[in-house]
Every structure is written in C-alpha cells, then in structure tokens.
C-alpha cells in the first residue's frame, strides 16, 4: 500500500512539473509581452527597460531556473499589469468560481446519481427512457448554447432572472444551472450503466434469493459496487472545480478564475497565466490522486493488483 501511494505521489509530482515546464516554454516562446504591454509606438529604450526589469533579456534557461527556484520559495511572480503578486490575484478570484462550481457539483450529484440509479432499477420503463433522453440531450448541448438559451428565456423573454453579474445569490442561479446540466446527464448515464451491470451479477441474485429485502439488496449490495466507476467521474468533476467554469463565467460575466485567465491571456500577463495553469493542474492531479486512493479503499482487488 505504501509503495502504491509512493508511486502515485511521484507520478503526480512529475505531472505538475511537466505542466509548469510546458506553461513556461509555450508562454515564453510565443512572442514578446513587452510589445503587448507597452503598445506599438513606444521607443526601443522603454521596451529594453521593460524587458530588463522583468528579466526577459536573460536566456530562456536562466529565466526557467529562476522561475523554478522562486516557486519553491512560494513566490509565483508578479503580475505585469497590476504589479501585484500573481498568486494573490488568482486566489482572490477562487471564491467567486467556487460559488458557482460547488453548488453545481452538489446539484449534479443530487440529481444525476438518483436519476441514473432509478432508471437502472426500472429498465425499459417510461422513466428510464425519459432519463436516457434527457441525459443525452444534457451532455450534447454545449454549455455556451445552454447558457445563452437560459438567458434568452429567463432574462430576455420572461425577465425574471438577471443575465449577468455577481451582486446577489439570484445572479448565481442561471450560471449554476448552466454548469450542472451537462454533468447531471453524464452522471445519470454513468450511474445507470454501472447499476445495470452490477444488478446482473450473481451476488445480487444470491442476495435476493436468500430473502433479503429489495431495499437492502440495492443499498448494501448493489450501490457500493456500482460506486467504483461513479467515483471516477465524480473525481474528475471535483478536479475541474477550478477550471470548469471558463465558458460559463464568460457568458455571465462572473468575476472568477476563468475570466481572469481569459483577460490575462489577452494581456500576455505571463506570471498570472502560469499561476492559474499551475493551480488548475494541481487541483486536477490532487483529485486524481484521491480517486486512486479511494479506489484502493472501495475495491480491495485494485489495491493488491496495483501494488505488484
């Protein structure tokens, strides 16, 4: 088990390191931030001074080493635009993003899994078909189309909900719904097929044959076994709590990480973009790691296999 965890941890660290390197190389290779920051008509001396003060005149590998060294001391660089610490700028935006993504995640779990399980237990019924149809529709409609349709219906035509901004909790309703619909569909479909597969297993037949109540069979025998594949998807959703709101934040002008990323990318604010990429990758990697460990806990067979 310890070896299993150690290997996972090492892979997680290598992954984060790869993301940092990728972000660094791509962002530096792609042109001079001095030009974008200062505009086209500034004298050469100003450009030179700008590049010198940000260390952009150094060779790439010197910049890279300096960057890695400063990350280890907790210094993620300074925003070229706001002259403030990049990490602070990014962390300021995290709560706003979580205000959308956490309720959306809860909504996905609360609606998606029960709908899928119910459909699996009532196969071929009217409800089952309805769930499948809605689920497929839910994840084939892209979030930007869904968001704009909701705005069109509830803000423009009915005029009952605001179309953008972050002033009150009412402003969060449409973005949260937009964000959760696709996930509800995916979870419903996944839970349905996981449950159907489990319900066909011999141990379920044994459990019902020995006279257990139907509810007990479902709760104690079927659900724990169906949980393994569902946990993978949920883990992925948790991992994208930070990154998953880019499009929705942009539709509803919600001042979260996604909007900051788009604005900073437009401004070529290297430190901020790097910091966002690092945080996104770290959340993703950590939640994947937790899912891997949860697997071992949920399914002892995987634990012994992975250790070998």
């Amino acid at each position: 088990m310890i070896r299993f965890i150690a290997v996972r941890l090492l892979r997680a660290l290598i992954t984060i390191f790869a993301v940092v390197t990728f972000a660094f190389v791509v962002l530096r290779m792609s042109g001079d931030p001095a030009q974008v920051m200062l505009g086209p008509d500034v004298p050469q001396e100003a450009v030179d001074a700008f590049r010198r003060s940000w260390g952009l005149d150094q060779p790439l590998w010197v910049q890279y080493l300096a960057y890695i060294r400063s990350i280890f001391t907790g210094d993620f660089g300074v925003s070229m635009r706001d002259k403030a610490s990049a990490l602070d700028l990014v962390l300021q935006r995290v709560p706003a993003t979580l205000q959308l993504t956490v309720p959306a995640l809860l909504l996905k779990l609360a609606l998606g899994i029960p709908a899928g399980v119910y459909a699996a237990l009532h196969r071929q019924s009217f409800a089952d078909r309805g769930v499948i149809l809605l689920a497929v529709l839910g994840f084939t409609i892209p979030s930007f189309v869904m968001g704009l349709l909701l705005v069109l219906i509830f803000a423009v035509i009915l005029g009952v909900l605001p179309s953008g901004g972050q002033d009150t909790w009412v402003h969060g309703i449409l973005p949260t719904i937009t964000m959760s619909i696709g996930g509800i569909g995916i979870l419903a479909r996944f839970s349905r097929s996981a449950m159907i597969e489990v319900m066909g297993q011999p141990y379920i037949r044994t459990a019902s044959a020995k006279g257990l109540k139907w509810g007990d069979v479902v709760w104690n025998h079927a659900l724990p076994n169906a949980a393994v594949p569902i946990v993978t998807i949920v883990g992925f959703m948790v991992g994208s709590l930070i990154a998953g709101a880019v499009v929705v934040e942009s539709i509803f002008s919600w001042p979260g990480i996604g909007r900051l990323l788009i604005v900073s990318v437009g401004n070529r604010d290297l430190a901020v973009v790097q910091c966002i990429l690092l945080i996104i990758a770290a959340t993703m990697v950590v939640s994947n790691l937790v899912v891997d460990l949860l697997y071992g806990w949920l399914d002892p067979r995987l634990r012994s296999n992975a250790a070998h």
Partner: protein
Amino acid sequence: MATINLSETSRPPGWYATFIKRLRRNVPFTVGLGIVWLAAMVAVAIFADQIRPYNITAMDLSSRLSHPGALKHLLGTDELGRDVLSRLLQSVRVSLIIAFGATILSAVFGTALGFAAAQFRGAVEHLVLVLADFQAALPFLIMSLAVLAFFGSSMVLLVCLMGFYGWERYARIARGLAISASSQGYAASVVQLGATPARVYFHHILPNVASTLIVSMTLTFPEIILMESGLSFLGLGVQPPETSLGNMVGFGREYLTRAPWIMLAPSVVIVLTTLSISIVGDWLRDKLDPTLS
C-alpha cells in the same frame, strides 16, 4: 397442406423495397434520423460553395438584422446585413473540416504512441504514460486557450491543436490491445515468420483492433466539435472573416435581445449534429465493439 403462403403468391419485391425493409429491421428510427442528418451535414460541407445563396461576407446594408422567414434571406441577416443561412452553411463546412482533420490526427498520433509503448515497453511506455497524465492534468480547453492566445489563432494551428484532443484514449486502447494481441498466437507467429514490427502492427494487429478504435473516434468527433465551437465562442478559435458554428454563436450573443436568430440557427445545428453523432455512435458501438456484451 391446405394453407397457402401468401407471400409466395405476391410479386417478389423490387430491390428498393427489400433495401427499405432490411434497413427498417436493422436500423432503429432515431439512428436512421441521425444518419440522415449527418449525411446532410456532410453534403453541406462538401457543396457549401454551390448551395449558399450569398457570399459569406456580402453585406446587404438595406436589410440589416432582418427577421428570418423572408424569401430574400431565409434565416434572416446579422448586424452587417450578411445572410445567416449562407454563413451557417460555410460554418458547417469549417467546423466539420476541423473536426475531421483533428479526429484523424489524434487517432493516428494516439494509436502510434500506444503501439510504440506496447512494442518498446520500459522507458517509452513510461514516457507515454507521463504524457497521458499531463493531458489529464491540464484540461484541454485551458491548454488550447493558452496556446492559441499566445501564438495567435490560425486554421493550421487550430487543427493541429485539436488533433491532440483525446489522443491518450487511443494510446491507452491501442497499447492495451496490442499487448494482449502479442500474447495471442497470430501476432507471435508472424513475428516468428520474420515480419518486421511495422508489418506486424499495421497488417496484423491494426485490423484486429480497428473496430474499437473507430468506436472511440465516434466519441472524440463530437467532443472536438464542441471544443472547437467553445474556443471559437470565446473568440480564440476560428477568426473572422472566416466563420464557424461556435464563432457565429459568439457573435450572435451580442444581439441576443434584438436578433436571437443569429445565435439560434448555429446552436440548433451544433446540438442536432452532436446529438446525431452520439446516437449513431452508440449504435455503432453496440454493433462493432467486441468487448461489449
């Protein structure tokens, strides 16, 4: 026997009727609809130049933001008086070309890496797995956003970038299938006969794993369409004056209150197309994938 089989007395059905009958028996109705829609979209993509009534940049300033339904502009016009129908047809073409190109790229790239991992094992395999971890850690939308914004968007870059989408899925499948194939008799025997690795992989293993790979292509294809339209919606994908489905939705968004049809027309096409691929893909998976059932 006194009973007469009526079907033998009637005229034998023509090839057309037989075809329809077979089709009805083998293809569910919704799948049929999906196939028809996809065929129509492919036809639109091929003949977009011939069937579109106007040039996509032609401005009709006297009828800006005109409502759909008029004979002159069936789906209305946008803020510059450009015909929405013409732009829609061109958008279908652009979005489909990108999605086709990218799907093929990512299938080839991923399968090649998967085979390489299966052939060489050791360091190469670890490298492929690290790359797959990397891909899983950085959401694709975020990565492409950074790359496109910093390098500037061009059609070639967009297709190449989208060509990385989902490669890890093919790599994982190809690696797993190739490893299990090499433990089966047929691959080992051609190796014994002196076939080069390339021959073993492309002539013997690939045909055996092709159906599973094709199924995952039907999964990747709609996702690439959504990814491209999402990027274009954010203004980072296809750049004006060229147009794509997401790009149209993005620009239509500004006229949501006054002219919702600009944004609704491409939205409907996106949803119907991804829905069709999803339905047809599920059906194909049931038919083709030997690992199911």
